[in-house]
Symmetry: C2
């Protein structure tokens, strides 16, 4: 990126420490902050997209910068867990079952946790010692890289030492939602931005992604006025 000298201008410096209570979902589980009043978003108006990565929006109290990837992760994650909780994860059969090669231990791990994976919308069966056959994936992940998702599942199953099914389900959900979420660098249409904001507004904890990073930065009208030396 070109660096433009700014001797004369004013640069917004952004100190790192977040306001108290921001920790939110950063920790494992992350149920603590969910549903806390005040976590919601106001209705936002799309202004435009910046660097094909952030959605700029206007709220009643100032400017909202939304990280499109983090926001989409949050949306998918909440939808996924809600479907799972209602035992209604919509599964999408693949047109052709996809074989994925794994090492033997990993393949048997998939076999062991078939019930859990089924509850998440995956239908994966052993196909020889070192191969699994993916027959269906969660519908909302249908566009993601299936082989990569299987490797994600294995990684999460291997990481957990006798984890609770719910915990590992959430961990898997975080991983696969990350894979399925729209990437930074993708140009979005106004309609796509609109849709993403509307869905984010509906989230229980819209202000952080499932990994605890912020989805939204706010620049209040007062801060802007102060920085610009406006006296109104």
């Amino acid at each position: 990126l070109t660096q433009v000298p700014r001797q004369e201008g004013r640069q917004l410096a952004l100190p790192v420490p977040p306001p108290a209570g921001m920790a939110g979902e950063a920790g494992a589980g992350g149920k603590r902050a969910e549903g806390v009043s005040g976590s919601g978003l106001p209705i936002l108006r799309v202004v435009g997209q910046l660097q094909a990565t952030y959605i700029i929006a206007e709220g009643p109290d100032g400017m909202y910068l939304v990280d499109q990837h983090a926001a989409h992760e949050r949306i998918l994650y909440e939808r996924f867990l809600a479907e799972q909780a209602r035992a209604q994860v919509t599964s999408q059969p693949l047109l052709e079952p996809l074989p994925v090669d794994l090492d033997p231990g990993s393949a048997s791990l998939i076999e062991e946790h078939q019930a859990l994976l089924a509850s998440l919308g995956f239908d994966i069966v052993l196909f020889g010692r070192e191969t699994v056959l993916v027959r269906a994936v969660p519908a909302m992940m249908a566009d993601a890289d299936v082989a990569q998702m299987v490797h994600d599942l294995v990684a999460e199953l291997e990481a957990g030492e006798e984890p609770l099914a719910r915990e590992i389900g959430e961990r898997i959900a975080r991983r696969v939602c990350k894979r399925a979420a729209v990437k930074a660098g993708k140009v979005l249409s106004p309609a796509e931005m609109e849709s993403l904001l509307r869905q984010l507004e509906q989230c229980t904890a819209p202000r952080t992604c499932p990994h605890g990073r912020p989805t939204v930065l706010v620049l209040s009208a007062e801060q802007l006025a102060r920085e610009f030396g406006r006296t109104s």
Copy 2:
């Protein structure tokens, strides 16, 4: 403005001290910083308008927030002084000369400085003891409130104790450009925003208004990535 609690989200805090060297034109005269390399703006792409007050734009190095009023003041001011320096201020005759009531001292002050005012594009003559008749104004101020401009002129003429003609000319220019500049609160079309940015880019000192306030705030791509916890 509605205050949305932000316990969970992240608010951009903006410390007040500007980077070194920002003083720029804040002082009288303000010639020091003009023409300093590095004061220019890159080519900016309009993203949209915020609060009918700020233009949000994208530059090669991040997000630019432009105060539409301050930016327009800067544009008008530089154009005005350039025209004056070339003795080419375009004057716009009023369809009907406008009488403006002043107290007797103020009216004679206008009379005294007629040459200076003429060099700025004003044609104002005495019309009785307490009234002046405005026959022409600078063309670029044609849309502004004429009576208000005359009161501005008087205020500047009264404030100066034997000022240099050039200094008082600049002070008058600052005042009348403030009156003529587009106000905060005015919704701009994309074409108007585009035009304003193109003209601001051409300015010698585009980053401050003639009174020394910032016209532009920059949020760099690196800062944004850091705030959002992006690791790329």
